[in-house]
Amino acid sequence: MAARPTFPAGLALDAHKQQACGTPIVELPLPPQVVLALDQGTGYSAEPVVTVGEAVAAGTLVAHAGHPYASAVHASLAGIVVAIETREAAVPSGRSVCIVIDGNASNRIDDSVRPVADLAALSPDELVQRLRDAGIAGLGGAGFPTATKLAYARNLGAHTLVLNGAECEPWICCDDALMRSAADDVVLGALILRRAASAERCVIAIEDDKPAAIAAVTSAIERLRDEALTLAVVPAVYPQGAERQLITAVVGVEVPAGGLPADAGVVCQNVATAAAVAHWATRGEPMLSRVVTVTGSGVEHPGNVRAPIGAPLAALIAASGGYRDTPLRLIAGGSMTGRALPSDEVGLTKSMNCIFVATRDDIGSRLEAVEVPCIRCGDCAGVCPAGLLPQQLLRAAHADAHDTLRQLGLSDCIDCGLCDYVCPSQILLADRFRDARRRLQEAAAMAQKAADARERHGLRKRRQQEAATAEQQTFESVRDRARRPDDDSAGDSN
């Protein structure tokens, strides 16, 4: 199958996938303890509905998703809740309230875990709600609740569901492994998601460097014979799997700046999310586990592991043969956008697609980098998939010139890190841009807050003035009434 044209720019990167991709997915033995972060990677937390000391079964709801950006959390292990406390976690803020469950050997499964009998009878709205209750979240890396995305898609009338199996980031291959071993689940989940989103068609997009996954998904689609479902092979160019870039490559439209994919009539979901939806439909199981790539030169046997959400990363690494050499970084995600974690005690989150244990062999290029002044070579602009001018942005970021930053499209940066990757001056561009972006957001929030405060202060002053005037008037009218007998004589005397 011929590869389609793609978004402009980007870069073919050294994929480093062979390390982890040769072997089949390994099932992690149930760990003695799980640490369930209530923030599953989006920055918004679910609210606990259990208390310390309570017994839970596998599949019991332990935290309810109050905010649309939070996802419901279920016990991935039968046992006792031993702690609900703020801990280090693999999330953007670095800390999250976590529910810690000590396992007992009962392996009891919650009564609510039953195959969804009435699947065909469910309306799209009911389907979305059930997916929300099941805590289904995007497994591609952002952990965004699937139900919320589907709801946006329905509100804005999305016509196409794009299933993201591009997996463009180096080192990661959990989606590849899943597609090869469970293509039927992916395809079944795709159809359920398409119905939930009320989309007309569904396109599964896979990069052309994964022939085995393409073959598996092709035959799964043939077995299903659904005309709404097609496969798109896209070139292996980073960041092909970035939502906006993939949509442009597959559907041929651009997502408007500051808008949602649904504004362009598209909703995007990860292939692993689709497989999780199929899991939920056939077994009634909420999101209790995921496949994660454990890789890097710092682990003995790189591979893909299916592990319960909340499993300590140390347990996953132990299951992969443990550490080897001198691991310097523990990275959640791939080499381009992954987040370096301070500890392997943190629990697996729904958004974590890769655990990259890096040694000097892997990340020496960054460790040895020496930053020198920008020579304006423009290589960064040549690869930017958002069409930005990183070197101009850098100047503006350095000067903290907020208007210029906005004008140059800082908010359209997708944080892919390619500018950083190619920079011959080895400037930490991505980091500067994240920093500038934070400052921009803070400044906007401060300005909003100042405007609110000004308004509230003004209202309060007016209220006080009115109260004072009213008091004055009362006083004057009382005084006037008291003086009235003298009025005539006073008037006369004038």
Partner: protein, 181 residues
């Protein structure tokens, strides 16, 4: 070159000088800077904490004082150096450090009421310049964190010292990565 040419040159230059001088003088006298809009623009740069650390009763009075040159631009600790810089740029005045007499900058903070200790005296309510405290007599009070400017004006009236200032919640949650070592 003859004397005539020199005379012409001198005359042209002199005429230009006189004409432009008169025009500039007239403009200076007639086109007055709009005082009100200046206060507005200064006020827009102030952080609106309404804390009174500048010894004016709120941000706008301070803005008016700056506009009329009654006060210097170095009296706003909540705005910090950034505000002084913005004011200096707007008014074309020399950049100066904050005057420590009026306080020192602190990280953004918000008031928080220990609801267990609050006796519901309602004395903090009128002190709040932005009506960010809700509550009534003999009921416990609470601070609307989103509205609180962290001005600290609610602290002195509280008879049981149940109000404390806590770091303001972070604004941005996305795009964070560990800092460079």
């Amino acid at each position: 070159m003859n004397a005539g040419a020199i005379l012409i040159a001198v005359l042209v230059a002199a005429t230009l000088a006189v004409t432009l001088g008169v025009a500039l003088g007239w403009a200076a006298a007639r086109i007055e800077p709009n005082a009100d809009s200046l206060v507005e623009r200064i006020d827009a740069l102030l952080p609106q904490t309404q804390c009174g650390q500048c010894r004016y009763p709120g941000c706008r009075p301070y803005a008016a004082a700056i506009a009329s040159s009654a006060a210097e631009i170095d009296r706003c600790p909540p705005g910090g150096e950034a505000t002084v810089r913005a004011l200096a740029e707007l008014l074309d005045r020399a950049l100066r450090p904050l005057d420590p007499e009026f306080g020192v900058p602190k990280p953004a903070q918000v008031a928080w009421i220990d609801e267990a200790r609050c006796i519901g005296c309602a004395r903090c309510l009128p002190a709040c310049p932005v009506d960010a405290i809700v509550g009534t007599s003999r009921q416990m009070h609470t601070v609307i964190t989103r509205q609180c400017t962290g001005c600290e004006l609610c602290l002195p009236p509280c008879p049981v010292d149940c109000i404390e200032l806590r770091p303001a919640p972070a604004v941005s949650r996305r795009y964070s990565q560990p800092r460079a070592a």
